[in-house]
Each structure stands twice: as C-alpha cells, then as structure tokens.
C-alpha cells in the first residue's frame, strides 16, 4: 500500500496538468483526435490511483475535454467521487479551473464571454476562489478591451474582501487604472478604491493628490460622489487635507445642479467637521472658515428642505440632525422651517422633524414649540404618529432634568391636556411625569393637587371605553398625588367621594389599590380637619362613607386591592367605634401616613458609606444553581408551589439568616426612593398593547388583491367577442340559408359569396380545408373556391356551374361547400365556412368541422387529432355510399379500422336524404405536431334519383395549422412566472407593422384564432399562454406601441413556436 502511494506521487511528477494538456492540444493541431485519445488513456490511469489529488487533476482535465465536446460521461463516477471528497479545495478547483479556463480561453475570442464569466464570478467569490483567481483577474485588469478591464477592476474589490493578501500585489495596477483612458474603467477604479478606503483609510492617503486632481477635473457626477466620499474617509486622518478641500467643495456646493452631489458634499463637510472640530481644535482661521462653510451647508440644506420633493426634504432634515449635534446654534435659526415640516403629509418627514426639534429647544422657545406640537397632537391622525408626538413632547420637556422648563404649572397643564388623548399607549409615561414633577417640585404641589382632583372628578371620561384603557394609568398618578399631598386639597371630601365611586371597581387592579390606599390618606387628612371643628358629625359621616364604600373593594378579585381594602375597612370601623366614644383619633390616624417622601438622586446611594464588615458582593444565600431556573416556570405552577416553599424554608430559617434578610430588605428599600412602583400587571398591559396595535394580517390582506388584474378582464372580453361572433354566425347562417333557398328556386343568377364566407371565416379555424380544382367532368364541375382565394377562383366556378348542370341534370347539380368548425370539449365554439361558394344549385354541403382535438386521447396520447365533418345534402336527390379518404403522409395518418389497407377510404356511416345534414368524425394520428400539415383527400359518393345513380367525387385538402394543435389553457400569473423561470424555453420574436386595431381586439384575435389565453395584461402589454396537445408550453408577450406590435414568444419547441408565430403573423396580415 505504502509503496503504491509512493509510486503514485512519483508518477504524479510526470503527470500532465491542465496547462500541459491545453498546450499539448494546441501543439497537435494536425492529429488532435489522436493526441486526445492518448490523453484520455492517461486520465483513465490517473483516475485509478488512490491519491485524491491525482484524481482531482484528472477530473480537471476532463472538464476541459468536455468543454471541447468530448464525451466524458464514462468518468461520471470518478467526478462525483472527487466532488464528494472532503477537501473543499478540490471541488472548488475543479469548478473553478474550468471557470478560469473559460475566462482565459475564450477571453481573446469574445470580450463579452469573459464579461459574463466575470459577472458570474462576482456572485460566488469565496476566499479559496479569490486566492486562486486573484492572479488571473489581475491579468485581465490590463486587458486590451476596456469592457473587460472595467469588470476585472470591480471584481478585484470582491476578491480583496475575501482574500486581502491579494491587495498588495494588485495595488499598483489598480492605481494605474485611476488614469485609464476609458472613463468606465476609471470610475470603476475610483469606486473600488473608495470602497476600500472606507474600510481602511490609512493606506490610501498617498493617493490623495491623484484624487484631488481627478476631483477638480472630472465632470462625471457618479465619479465625483465617490471621490468626495473617499475624501470624507481620508480627512479625519490628515487635517491639512480638509483645509485644501474647502475650496473645491465650496465651489461644487455652489455650482452643482445635481442634488445627489450637493448632498454628498454637504455630508462630507459635516462629517469632516465633526472629527476636525471636536478632538483637535483647528487654528482660528480654519475654525472661522469651517464656520463659514457651515453656514453655507445649512443654507443649502434649507434649500433642500424647502424643496417640494419629499426625498430632498427628508435628507435635508437628516443632514440637519447631523449638524445639530455639533452646531446646534446654526440649526436653531431654522426653527420655523422645521416646524413647518411637522405639517408634512409624510410621516417619516414629520418624525425626522420631531427628532430635530428635540435638539433645538431652549428656555425661550420651549413653550412655543410645545404649543405648536400640541396643535399637531390634536390634528394628528393615526395613533402611531400621535404617540410619537406625545413621547416627543414629554422628552423635549423633561430632557436634562427639565432644564428648559421655566414654569411647571404650564407643564402640569400640558400633561393634563395630554390625558385627553384618545387611545394612546403612553398613559404610564404621563403618569410618571406627573408623579415626578409633583414630588420633585414642591412649589407646584398645590397646583398639581388641584389639577389632579379635577382629573379624579372627571375620571369617568377616561374609563369610558376600551380605547382609553391606556390613559387611565394617569388616574394612578392623580390618586396618589391627591392622597399624598391631601393637605393642599381644596375640597377633600369631594375628592374622597370621587375616589370611592363604584365605577372605580372597573379600573385595573393596581390602580384600584392606589385608590384604596390614598382614600385612607385622604380620610386621615379629612379627620384631622373635621375634628378641629366643633361638629363631630362631619367626621363620623366621613367614617360612615368609608365603611359604606370600602366593602366593594374588599370583594375585589385583585389580591392587593382586597388586602388593602379589608385592612383599611377594619381600621375605619375601629376609628368609628372610637369616634362614637368621642375619642380624638385624628392625630393617631395621621401618624399612619406621617413622614415626607423626598426625592433621592439615583446616585445618592454611593454617598452612603458601606458599613464595616459588609461585603456587598458576597452572596447572602447560597447562589442558586444554574440549572434551577424558577423564572422559566409558568406562573400557575409558581403560585401553587410558593406556599410550600416558604413554609418549608420558614422552619429552616435561623436568627442569623433573618438578620441577613432584613439587611437585604433595608438595602433594597434604600435603593427605592419611591415606594410606589408600577405593579407587574401594569407593565403587562403595555406589553400587550403594541401586540394589538400591530395586527399586520389585515394590512397584508388589503395589499394583496384577490385577483390578478387583467385576467378577468381579458377573459371577459374574449368571451364577449365569442358571443358576438356566435351571434353573427347564427344570423349569417340564417341569411345564407334564406338566400340559398331563394336562389335554388330562382336559378341562373350567380352570386358572389365571397364577402360572406370571408366574414364567416375570420372567426377562426382549426383545420383549413381547401378544395382543389376538381378533376371532374366538365359537366360535373362544381364551383369550388378557397375562401382565401375567393376572387381568383370565381370564374371557373361560374363556367362549370351556370351552364352544364342546367342542361343535364337541372336539379341534381351538386355544389359542395365545406365548412369547418372547431369543436371544443364544451361544445361548438366556432364555425366557419371554409371554401364556401354556395352556388344556385347545391346538392351536397360538406361541412368539415375541423380538427376537434380528441380530449380523451390527448391525456394518454397526445398524438390524436379528431376532425369532425358535417355533410349536408343540398340537392333534391338521395346521397349514399359516401366514402371519405385521405392520402396519408409520413407524419399523419387517418385512423382506419383494423384490417383495411392504408389507402382504403372510410365509409361514412350514414346516407343523406335531401336537405339533411349529419356529422362524421375522423381520427388522425400525428407523430409530430411542430409543423403545419396539408393532407389531400377525396370524398366519393353516389347521387341517386328515380331513374339513375351517378358516382361523384370531391377533392379537398385538409389543412392542419400549428395553432390547431394548441388548446386554450388558462394559466395564472404565478404559474406563468414559474414556467418562464424554469429557463427551458427557447425564445423567438416577431414584429407586426401597421396593425391598426385596439389592443383588446388584437388580443381577442390571438385568443380566438390561435387558442391562447391572456395571463395578465398591463396597459398595452399582455402575456398569453397556450399548450399544445403534446404538452408544449407556448408563452407570448404581446406589446404594442402605435401601429407596431411586437410579440416575444417562448416555447420548449422552437419549430412549433416558429410556425405558430408565422400563423399569427398571417392572421394579422389579412386585416
């Protein structure tokens, strides 16, 4: 085994690699085949080796040979084997070598082939691939054709990203390309370097002078933008560059008409300034300069924002917000403009403007801005935007500790006004603001309490409907403020009553809890006030009120409410007892709620020294094991298990443990300046709210129409068209019959049925039957006319008809008319006279109902076509022994009963008395349906009258068009797109000039004559579909502009497609 491997590797040294193979093939031009066969033998040997590398090499060569057209399928197994090898590089190499070789080999034949290869490469560059191909692509960068150079340069960017090592050797060449004579290559190089520089600007500083030159000389905006972007990346590294750039940039800003370029310039200036300005202060002159150009930028931005184009407005605001960070002053002067943007129809613009406002407020303008915003809140439709406004108002006002608020009464009234908002989700935000302000701003408490009392009084406005659920959070704050600062209440009794209304029970639990607790505080204050009076009854009445109302809360489903209510109820009952004994209790009751809450700064805890011996980092209890995650347990289980746990633990807890816990609780309390915290249930409410708000399902449904537009419409008119034609036909038929009847009597008068038949024909036909000039005796000659050549054939018909029959058999004369008709599964669809020339004397009418496709046969055997023929006897004699015969061709055969020879006729299974018609069907077997067919046939029959019987013969031609092999098949646009995506279809197209008809007529015509159905129609463009009986898909794209109709077509069978297109062309050439 070992020996074999060694042998293998020695052999390898002499193996040909791919390059050798190619070189060899070129050197053996004369005996290429021989050379290749020896190569293939070698490859076979190589494939037998155990060494996977050898095999890979062999497979590489095989791929090349296959490209040359040699059959390598015998090696399929080996190829799969190598492909499945664990080493990815082999796989890559095989695919890739083939690829590189495609690039290089075809490279000098067609630049576009190489282009395609490169484009393909851009989609799947991997590090391995990048490494292997870097050199090849680098070579292509100096290709003679700019087209290739350009692609190669751009591809290098992808290669650099995947395989950065390639950058160093490629860089000089890339730099060279910056000065390429072809502008495309140049811009590609700028592109690549710009993108690279954004990732790592340091390496590209040396290129700055070159780019500077480019910037001042180039007029291509696409390139300029990239260059400016590049400088944007470079300036932070080289401050001098910024100074140098000022002038050209300013020039550009002044002169350019391209908004994209202007925007890029402004952005670069802003970004450059950002870095220049803050960390290292530039010299004074530069600072001045910067300021000046800054003003310029802001000026320009103003132009952008004032533009009617929403996009520019948006971008202007975006850039403004960037400037705002460094130069708030220069933006502030444009407050009016930004406020104006709040009126914009576009929500995203309004939101941007709001963002800007946040940074623009000052003590002076805060009230004005907020007033403006409040107006918008009233007008705003759509909850999202209104909520956004609300939060912004609160953000603006509360930023940096209410820095800009000079009058808190104003702020409280703003907050109260905001509570009037319907359906907002931010009730808790307003509530927390109210609490915050009331607690922190002592001076405001009187005013706040009065406002809150009003709110409580009008609480019913907030609890009314479901939509207002969010806002009732405010009541939480109102109740708390009224309770806590009840000494400021003007009319505490009224507030107490408001708090104890039965309606309160409909509020969420956590709010009710606050109500109950604060009712108690209020009660305490009231007692104190009332006990001061001489009249004791007032105090007792208050107690009674509490005792009457509280039981409602005791019954509450919410545990917190229940617990607080029953506690307080008992307390009040006790107080009432004492009151009845005339004991003064107010002082003691007040003591329950004594002590003032002071705001504590978030960092205040740091100022408290940690007591000695206390290690805050040490675990108080054993740290919980990680596997034990109680949080994850569902709530129900938690609730059930909780009591058990606590009881079990309770016994274990010793004194020390308790002390520790107390300590911990104290700590926690210390961290908790406000003892009121939103209960978890309140948070839950808010989490649920957005969920409800989303309901994207409805929106999706709305945006997706139920039907593909165009389809029903076109179907409709196709149907209409059909109906119309049907009607016309019926009328025509009637007319014709009438005429004929007349004419049969009043003989001698020839008539031209040309227009008649012409009109009848236009509807459609599956199979044309063309009667040829018949080899009949002169006397028997019948008027025969192909409808298409109706005029031309007129005269022979005249001759034959008008004279001879009259002399011999006046009434026997038979003129034959063939009609053809297409039948569909669902019944007759189209009838058309084919060679109609109803002369005066007609004996037999032969209608051929053309090529009804045998649907049954179609499913199992797509080669059967059924032709239905209607025979109508128009003479006064009996017709019998009719025999239908067709001369078979190689491709199509008339199906005859078993045992009959290939030239035997088929007897028509009926006889025709005068004036009777009947239908017979004949089945044809087709091998190929890609070509139209014409079959010659004969109909023989005997005309029998009293005295004699005559043999007669009628020749005709059956014309199977390719369209007749198509079946109208509906197709939905999705399926249609899928079909086209499959990529198996060949393409072909046709142009029709001078078609002067409405587009929908045009479509109807194609549908009708060629059995297509409209898939989708958009304006003057429609896609159509049909299927052949053998399952070929035919797709059309019909477009019209003016009188030119272009039809692009795709089909899996190019010959069929070509013929169908020819037929379509012919259809329209006739009109």
């Amino acid at each position: 085994m070992a020996l074999k491997i060694v042998k293998g590797s020695i052999d390898r040294m002499f193996d040909k690699n791919l390059q050798d193979l190619v070189r060899g093939i070129r050197n053996h031009k004369e005996d290429e085949a021989k050379y290749i066969s020896t190569c293939i033998d070698e490859i076979k040997q190589e494939l037998k080796q155990d060494n996977i590398a050898v095999k890979a090499n062999a497979v590489c060569k095989l791929t090349y040979l296959q490209m040359l057209g040699y059959d390598v399928s015998w090696a399929a197994f080996n190829i799969v084997e190598v492909m499945s090898s664990s080493k990815f590089t082999y796989k890559v190499k095989i695919g890739l070598y083939a690829h590189v070789w495609i690039c290089q080999e075809i490279g000098y034949i067609s630049q576009y082939d190489t282009g395609v290869a490169l484009t393909g490469l851009s989609c799947f560059v991997t590090p391995d691939l990048a490494r292997d191909l870097a050199n090849d692509i680098m070579t292509l960068m100096s290709h003679t054709k700019p087209y290739i150079r350009k692609k190669a340069v751009l591809i290098m960017y992808k290669v650099f990203l995947k395989y950065p090592e390639s950058l160093r050797p490629a860089f000089p060449r890339l730099k060279e390309k910056l000065e390429d004579p072809d502008p495309g290559v140049q811009s590609a190089a700028v592109n690549v370097i710009c993108e690279l520089a954004r990732r790592n600007p340091k390496n590209y500083l040396s290129l700055a002078p070159l780019f500077f030159k480019l910037m001042t000389s180039s007029t291509n905006n696409w390139v300029l933008i990239k260059i400016i972007k590049l400088f944007g990346a470079l300036t932070p590294l080289e401050p001098r560059l910024g100074k140098k750039l000022i002038e050209p940039l300013t020039n550009l800003i002044h002169s350019t008409s391209a908004m994209s370029l202007l925007y890029e310039c402004v952005n670069t200036v802003i970004a450059g300034h950002d870095v220049n300005g803050s960390p290292f202060l530039p010299p004074f002159s530069l600072a001045l300069f910067l300021f000046l150009r800054f003003q310029l930028c802001v000026q320009k931005l103003r132009i952008l924002i004032e533009d009617s184009d929403q996009n520019l407005k948006y971008l202007g605001l975006l850039a403004m917000s960037k400037i705002l960070k460094t130069h708030p002053k220069s933006v502030q002067s444009h407050k009016d403009l930004i406020l104006q943007c709040l009126d914009d129809k576009d929500e995203s613009i309004r939101l941007r403007a709001l963002d800007l406002l946040y940074g623009m407020v000052s003590k002076k303008n805060l009230m004005e801005i907020v007033k403006k915003l409040m107006l918008h809140v009233d007008k705003a439709e759509g909850t999202t935007y209104r909520d956004e406004l609300l939060t912004k108002i609160i953000d603006i006002c509360s930023q940096s500790n209410y820095q800009y608020i000079t009058n808190f009464e104003w702020y409280i009234s703003i907050l109260v006004e905001l509570t009037r908002l319907e359906g907002t989700r931010h009730g808790h935000l307003i509530a927390s603001q109210m609490l915050d302000v009331a607690i922190r701003v002592k001076a405001i408490r009187v005013f706040a309490v009065a406002q809150m009392a009003t709110l409580l009084d009008n609480a019913h406005l907030m609890t009314g409907n479901v939509q207002r659920k969010g806002i009732c959070e405010v009541l939480y704050a109102a109740a708390w403020i009224c309770g806590e600062f009840s000494e400021h209440l003007e009319n505490p009794m009224q507030t107490l009553e408001a708090m104890l209304r039965p309606k309160v029970a409909t509020l969420p639990g956590h709010i009710q809890a606050v109500y109950v607790q604060n009712a108690a505080k209020l009660f305490a204050t009231l007692l104190k006030n009332q006990e001061g009076n001489t009249d004791r009854t007032a105090a007792q009445e208050t107690s009674q009120l509490m005792i009457d109302r509280l039981p409602l809360f005791v019954q509450s489903a919410n545990l917190e409410v229940q617990e607080r209510a029953s506690c307080i109820l008992q307390l009040v009952k006790y107080i009432q007892k004492l009151q009845q004994k005339d004991v003064e209790v107010a002082e003691e009751v007040i003591a329950l709620f004594a002590g003032e809450l002071n705001p504590v700064a978030p960092k205040a805890q740091k100022k408290v020294p940690v007591p000695e011996g206390l290690d805050l980092d040490a675990w108080i209890n054993e740290p919980p094991s990680e596997s034990e995650s109680e949080d994850e347990q569902p709530k129900a289980i938690f609730a059930k298990e909780e009591p058990k746990h606590s009881r079990a633990r309770h016994t274990e807890v010793d004194e020390k443990e308790l002390a520790k816990r107390r300590e911990a609780r104290k700590q926690e309390q210390a961290n908790n300046p406000f003892y009121i915290k939103a209960s978890p249930s309140s948070q839950k409410v808010y989490q649920e709210a957005p969920g409800v708000e989303h309901i994207p399902v409805v929106q999706i449904d709305l945006s997706v129409p139920l039907k593909v537009p165009g389809l029903p419409m076109s179907d409709q008119y196709v149907k209409l068209e059909e109906e119309r034609r049907q009607k016309e036909r019926v009328e025509k038929k009637k007319k014709e019959k009438k005429k004929r009847k007349e004419k049969r009597g009043g003989r001698g008068k020839k008539h031209d049925s040309g227009p008649e038949s012409e009109e009848d024909i236009t509807p459609a036909h599956m199979v044309d039957i063309v009667t040829e000039e018949m080899p009949l005796a002169d006397s028997e000659k019948l008027p025969v006319r192909s409808h298409r050549a109706a005029e031309a054939l007129k005269s022979p018909a005249e001759d034959g008809d008008a004279e001879s029959p009259a002399s011999q058999e006046p009434k026997k004369k038979s003129s034959k008319e063939k009609r053809e008709k297409k039948k569909d599964k669902d019944g007759d669809r189209k009838v058309s006279v084919k060679n109609g020339n109803p002369t005066r004397e007609t004996a037999l009418w032969m209608y051929i109902y053309g090529a009804e496709i045998d649907i049954q046969g179609n499913l199992q055997d797509g080669s059967q076509v059924v032709v239905s023929v209607i025979f109508e006897n128009k003479c006064d004699n009996f017709l019998k022994t009719m025999e239908f015969n067709v001369l078979d061709s190689l491709n199509s055969k008339l199906q005859r009963p078993e045992g009959s020879g290939p030239h035997d006729g088929l007897s028509v299974p009926f006889q025709l008395p005068p004036g009777v018609s009947n239908e017979a069907r004949f089945v044809f077997t087709m091998q190929s349906i890609v070509m139209p067919q014409k079959l010659k046939g004969t109909l023989t029959f005997i005309i029998k009258n009293e005295d004699s019987s005559t043999h007669e013969k009628l020749d005709f031609k059956l014309h199977f068009t390719c369209s007749s092999y198509l079946i109208t098949t509906p197709c939905y646009s999705d399926a249609f797109a899928k079909l086209l995506e499959s990529g198996d279809l060949k393409c072909s197209s046709v142009r029709l000039e001078g078609v002067n008809m409405p587009f929908h007529h045009l479509l109807a015509r194609i549908c009708f004559h060629h059995h297509f159905s409209v898939v989708e129609r958009i304006d003057s463009c429609a896609s159509m579909y049909s299927r052949s009986i053998q399952g070929h898909h035919v797709c059309l794209l019909v477009k019209t502009s003016g009188q030119t109709v272009s039809i692009d077509a795709k089909c899996d069978e190019p010959t069929l497609l070509g013929n169908v297109l020819d037929e379509i062309k012919q259809t329209f050439s006739q009109c």
């Binding site: 960017y157 994209s260 994207p696 794209l1037 477009k1039």
Partner: protein, 153 residues
Amino acid sequence: MQFMLLFSRQGKLRLQKWYVPLSDKEKKKITRELVQTVLARKPKMCSFLEWRDLKVVYKRYASLYFCCAIEEQDNELITLEIIHRYVELLDKYFGSVCELDIIFNFEKAYFILDEFLLGGEAQETSKKTVLKAIEQADLLQEVRPHVVTLHYE
C-alpha cells in the same frame, strides 16, 4: 449596495439581486419584511426608510417597486439615480418597459442589471455603453455555436 429587489404592487417578487451572501431563509425573511413595509407606505411619502442597520431606498415605477438596501454611509440620492438609470436602461431595451417584460424576459433584466452594477457598485455610468454591451451579448447569443468552433480553426 447590499441587495436590490423588484416587486409588484401585489407583493410578488419579480427580480432579486443580492450582493452580500445570505442564506435563502434569511433572504426570504428580508424580502417578506421589506415588501410589507414598503407596500404599506403611502404614495406621498419619501423614498427612504431606515431598516435594521441599513437604509432602504425604494421607488415605484408603474406597478413595480424598485427597492435597494444600502449602507449607512451611502448616498441615498445616488441610489435613487441608480434605480432610475436602471429603469431607463430597461425602458430603452424593451421599449416602454412594463412588469410583464420583466416576467417574460427576466434573464434579460438580470443581464442588464449585471452590465450596469457589478458586485453592488455601479460599473458603467454611460447608458450608451451599457446598451451596446447588451446588444453585443444578444448578438453573441444568436451566433454562439460558431464562436465556439472558431477558436480551434
């Protein structure tokens, strides 16, 4: 540019081009999300939106939405220009282009895009050059069999 999507008013994806490698699942997710967001926007709204850490620039032409995702530092206006230029190219090539053209000749639409953008960067800013390249390629496609043999003569 990270990727470009073309979809119809009905939310059907007509063309997609990704310049960053992503899994199919991720692509589907992004497509669904973006199509929904963009279609929900009103006609009067501006063409930009911030999405994840990218900027999305979209524009509607007739029944088709052209939607590009670009990076933070990229220029939105030039992206709009790129979209517009692509539409111009399609229009020139197909002759008053409509959605059905892109369904029917989707490979051509891709090809034009590939000639115009390469790896997410504009490769050719001249309309004429791009159209010329496409015409040449069309010719090539028709005479391809000869071209292959040509080399070995």
